[in-house]
Symmetry: C2
Subunit: 150 residues, 2 copies
Amino acid sequence: MRAAIELAVENVRAGRGGPFAAVVVRDGRIIAEGTNTVTSSCDPTAHAEINAVRNACRELADYQLHECDIYTTCEPCPMCLGALYWARPRRVYYAATRDDAATAGFDDAFIYEEILRACEQRRLPMQQLLRDEAQASFEAWTAKPDRVEY
Amino acid sequence: MRAAIELAVENVRAGRGGPFAAVVVRDGRIIAEGTNTVTSSCDPTAHAEINAVRNACRELADYQLHECDIYTTCEPCPMCLGALYWARPRRVYYAATRDDAATAGFDDAFIYEEILRACEQRRLPMQQLLRDEAQASFEAWTAKPDRVEY
């Protein structure tokens, strides 16, 4: 975690993005790092954990991180928590909280509140349409004998 | 939305990943597309919406999608919903639901349930450590006069 905190501080100093970093550890060794590069890479999904997961998966040539632990300098935002579920690491360690992030001006706590709300009560307008027609893609999926599940 | 559904079906047929696609529209024109490429790109974060947001941001050279609408073939999973909040589009349209996705074998509904739980009750073990030391990165952030906020 101390290595991640050092990376986060360095990330701010270098002007690469927000004050966040994460490292992925496997067999006691850091196999990948990630820092927040939202503004420098023009990518709102380029949070520390997402970048670390992507780098670790590239390193392992796998889309799962079963034997890995992730150390992140801040409680993951909903996007990153979702990404961690999809990556399926063994364990996640975090340091600062979503409220620490909110105090520093980041939307983490706000997005947690929004996700708990029903669609129609959210600040981001969402509308459903063509649900029936969209089943075609699931039908193609379940009918495909050589589909690769994840 | 019909363009997105067609992309999702084609994505399955081509074996690139799960049965999901999204398009980003600005001024009545599709400016970017994204399909699920989790398995083919070895990237658990490569969901349709994440790929579409990344492609649209690259197209616009911006980390925000203020004037854009996003059409996605399925209700966004928590990771993608979080990504949409960070990207700040004008409006999101979706077709299938998280339960449709669950029926086809995807974890979307499960992850929504998990995110609602307190950390210590989640299936993914999470543990906090070194909260105090991690404040160093936020202190560096707030002390940086030329920080680029997002």
